[in-house]
């Protein structure tokens, strides 16, 4: 679409034939023309690496275009840094919130533009200013609370208020709902609509098509750095948007047969955990996962799901309770012991511990089995076998790469995750623990992961799926557990008819099941 087609005269922000090539040769944005009129909520969607984040960074002055122009309020703007963008009324809320944890909300809101004279900050004025902004925008915060003691949702509202305090007329929200519960998302959307009433222009980055359709006036779709098109939201469907994003027809539905669970593979009883670091403690966690079923774990991030998954993988040691896989009591076993018992683990952050980025795909695929035949004999690594193993998995899991010697760090997110999933599933685990299976993964790979996990289930694997994405859990899981503050607070033995909203109420602690319901049907397991 050309800027001329945007309704309502001068666009609030516009990009004209903008191209950005990064130093490593990736052309992230190519020839994009985009114009957003004042008072519009514009969603920008696209696969990972489609260039939407880079385009936003260009608007916010974090990156400078290689060619083309950025215009703000109708004037061509050369943005040397975020300072220039802020001066022109552009504010941005990043995906990873950037606040000072030990400051109060009011202090964070005024940071950099503090009220007061001669270098002294007038804290009272800061609190009043914050309260006023919150009142006007409907973004509820407690100005005097410390940031590290409030919820993620309130932190995000603080970020938006910070932008408002600096006089933003254009607000860029980069995947704002990724960290929110459904209820918090609704509140955010209400505030965003209210801001629109005051003439605010909002750029909303997301890959959740349902939310995009709910909040935005128009949707711009990017693919491979280029703008594919802009459509009115009222005329868009999930399917049409997904097809634009992918450049071909895609089906989002996943075919899943009824689960046929047999005996329990994973038994967790009275699990307790006292972290030695900054982790979340767990208390009295008990559940089963049977062979041939997928059990999902829902919860607001940071409520103990990371700790629980890492305990099941052997990376953390529980301080109380029993974990059993098949007949094996895993007390005192290390990671290798857990893997020997038949546990596969897709970690939540593949960059942190799911891969060695500088090492080859082939080496990354054998970390759990390099010390056994056929890959090695008596301490000798058989390079031919390692390469053959990699070639096979690259073919089986459609990992896109010219060679198995390519370092994993050179791959895109979805492709890298395929390497992790290929390694874990090819070990044919009895229990697969998968955390954030499709985080940062494109739609094509996402579908692929779903199919593979369902196939593993149908082959008799027990699957424990931890995710921050409720639609993913409701799509895949046969049963669902909800965790809050290190305790199980909800258990749904069927996901049929279950809504995200209903689960959200449990995640927030508005509703909870009683202990009897959560623990029902669990047989006695004693330490041997």
């Amino acid at each position: 679409m050309t800027p001329a087609q945007s309704p309502g005269g001068t666009p609030a922000v516009a990009a004209v034939a903008v191209t950005k090539t990064y130093a490593n040769g990736v052309r992230a944005v190519r020839g994009v023309d985009l114009a957003v009129s004042a008072g519009e909520i514009r969603a920008v969607v696209g696969e990972n690496g489609a260039g939407k984040s880079t385009l936003m960074k260009l608007f916010y002055g974090l990156e400078q275009p290689g060619s083309g122009e950025i215009a703000i309020g109708g004037d061509t703007a050369v943005l040397h840094g975020p300072g220039d963008a802020i001066a022109r009324g552009v504010g941005m809320v990043h995906q990873n919130l950037m606040l000072v944890p030990s400051f109060t909300i009011a202090q964070n809101v005024v940071l950099g533009v503090e009220p007061g004279r001669r270098g002294r900050v007038d804290l009272k004025a800061a609190v009043e200013e914050t309260a006023r902004l919150a009142e006007e925008s409907g973004l509820q915060v407690d100005p005097k609370a410390r940031v590290d003691q409030v919820s993620v949702g309130m932190r995000q509202r603080t970020e938006i208020l910070k932008a408002l305090h600096r006089g933003a007329r254009v607000l860029i929200l980069d995947e704002p709902t990724a960290v929110l519960t459904p209820q918090e998302t609704e509140d955010l959307f209400a505030s965003v609509r209210r801001l629109r009433e005051t003439g605010m222009t909002v750029l909303f980055i997301s890959h959740k098509l349902r939310e995009v359709r709910e909040i935005s006036d128009r949707v711009s779709v990017m693919r491979a750095g280029a703008l594919v098109g802009t459509v009115d939201t009222a005329e868009a469907t999930d399917r049409s948007l997904a097809s634009m994003m992918m450049g071909r027809e895609v089906t989002l539905e996943v075919v899943k047969a009824q689960a046929r669970p047999s005996g329990a593979v994973l038994r967790v009883r009275d699990l307790g955990y006292r972290p030695s670091d900054a982790g979340v403690p767990l208390d009295g966690v008990g559940f089963d996962v049977a062979a041939g079923e997928i059990v999902g774990l829902a919860g607001v991030e940071g409520n103990g799901q990371t700790e629980l998954a890492e305990i099941l993988a052997g990376l953390r040691r529980p301080t109380a309770g029993v974990v059993r896989v098949g007949g094996t009591d895993l007390a005192g076993a290390g990671v290798a012991g857990h893997r020997r018992a038949g546990i596969g683990y897709v970690p939540e952050d593949r960059l942190h511990n799911g891969a060695a980025l500088d090492e080859s795909i082939a080496d990354n695929l054998v970390v759990d089995r390099h010390d056994r035949p056929p890959l090695s004999r008596r301490g000798r690594l058989r390079l031919a076998a390692v390469r053959a193993h990699a070639e096979r998995l690259v073919a089986d899991y459609a990992i896109r790469t010219p060679d198995t010697a390519v370092p994993v760090g050179a791959l895109s997110g979805g492709n890298m995750q395929k390497v992790v999933v290929a390694r874990e599933l090819s070990a044919r685990p009895r229990l697969l623990v998968a955390s954030q299976l499709t985080r940062g993964v494109d739609i094509g790979s996402m579908r692929f992961m779903y199919e593979r996990v369902i196939a593993a289930r149908d082959d008799g694997a027990a699957v424990f799926l931890v995710s921050a994405d409720l639609s993913e859990l409701l799509t895949l899981a046969d049963r669902l557990l909800v965790i809050k503050e290190g305790r199980l607070v909800g258990r749904f033995d069927s996901t049929r008819g279950l809504t995200e909203k209903k689960v959200g109420l449990f995640m927030l602690g508005v509703e909870r099941h009683d202990r009897g319901h959560i623990g029902s049907g669990l047989d006695e397991v004693t330490t041997t």
Binding site: T21, G25, V26, H352, N353
Partner: protein
């Protein structure tokens, strides 16, 4: 074009070509780094009012002028390469071990004591002290290894402190118990004749100074360590722990044990270097026989980016500069300090790695925009 990173869209031939080009750039950059360093040295000599052409011709051609100088070069390169290797292994596991000095002294001490005190038949008289030296070096490496892996101590502090202890113990013994009775200078008795590493002179028939079959031992060690790193499970583990320790742990690798092994292997190689100094060079124990060698070994490892096969090249190059610098000092009025300048410039350029990366990026950009 589909969504993805640049490399994903290449086919195999294209990728291999890119890789070959990358290798060629690396080699070219290494040469360029050396040239720049020599140029800086040249300017410094000029600025201090000496004749740089004369100094450089002495330094760069001197070591090859006589066979004894070649021998000196080979002998020095042997020790230096072994030390570079001993550091490269823990470095590959991302352990900043600075313990080569203590391991070297321990190896020298063990080789010396065995070779002086224990009477042995020929051949065995060489093998036993060498093995003892490697064992002593490995044991000295194990101490900071265990401290780091099991107790969480900082390996830099642990190895440096152990160095201080090892040097004092060595000096104390050579000044006391091991001191040759009746001699005025401080040194031990000489090693038994059969314990000396056979000189290369006996093989080539030309005088090669103190160069000895330690050179062959060193080359064997290079190949062995290269095989270890690329073709064994312990080498794989060392590489993975170095690449991403969290990943190694996640994969079920016993990280502390791997760290210990990296220290032990490095220590054994440093111990071998100690044996080479005593059995091949000095023929007895002297205080300070290690000099600054241990730290130059670190430079060699850095220069070679911890790749055993490249360490040899770096070791030979570096010791060539050292020997050439000595000759330059003898023949001209330019001191060996200039060699230190050249070395420092190289280290700066290599550790910054600014040059090669900049060049590669430029190359990629021109290819993309074309």
């Amino acid at each position: 074009m589909s969504v993805g990173t640049l490399v994903e869209t290449e086919d195999r031939r294209e990728y291999r070509a890119t890789r070959r080009r990358g290798l060629a750039i690396d080699v070219g950059m290494a040469v360029a780094t050396i040239m720049i360093a020599l140029l800086v040295g040249f300017v410094v000599i000029l600025a201090t009012g000496h004749n740089p052409v004369e100094a450089y011709s002495a330094m760069l051609t001197g070591p090859l002028e006589r066979s004894t100088r070649v021998g000196r070069w080979l002998e020095d390169a042997t020790t230096l390469t072994l030390l570079g290797l001993s550091v490269a292994i823990p470095f590959r596991a991302r352990q900043i071990s600075l313990g080569a000095e203590s391991q070297l002294y321990a190896g020298a001490l063990a080789a010396g004591v065995v070779a002086i005190v224990v009477p042995m038949p020929p051949v065995v008289a060489v093998i036993v002290p060498v093995v003892a030296a490697m064992g002593a070096g490995a044991a000295t490496g194990l101490v900071p290894g265990v401290m780091k892996a099991r107790l969480g101590a900082n390996e830099i502090v642990a190895t440096l402190m152990l160095n201080a202890i090892a040097v004092r113990v060595f000096d104390y013994l050579v000044n006391g118990t091991l001191r040759e009775p009746g001699s005025t200078a401080v040194h031990s008795a000489s090693i038994q004749h059969d314990a000396a590493l056979p000189s290369l002179r006996e093989w080539f028939g030309v005088p090669l100074g103190r160069a000895n079959i330690g050179l062959l031992l060193m080359l064997l060690t290079v190949v062995a360590l290269w095989l270890l790193m690329t073709r064994t499970t312990i080498g794989y583990r060392i590489r993975m722990v170095g690449a991403n320790q969290d990943f190694a742990e996640y994969g079920g690798i016993a990280v502390p044990r791997v760290i210990e092994w990296s220290f032990v292997i490095g220590g054994a190689v440093a111990g071998l270097a100690g044996a080479h100094l005593v059995l091949g060079g000095y023929g007895r124990l002297e205080p300070g026989l290690v000099g600054s060698l241990a730290f130059e070994g670190i430079v060699v490892a850095l220069l070679a980016r911890n790749n055993p096969l490249v360490v040899v090249v770096a070791g030979f190059f570096y010791s060539y500069l050292r020997v050439g610098g000595d000759i330059m000092e003898q023949q001209t009025d330019v001191g060996t300090e200039i060699v230190v300048v050249i070395q420092a410039v190289i280290v700066l350029l290599v550790t910054a790695q600014a040059l090669p990366d900049l060049f590669k990026r430029r190359l990629v950009r021109t290819r993309v925009t074309r």
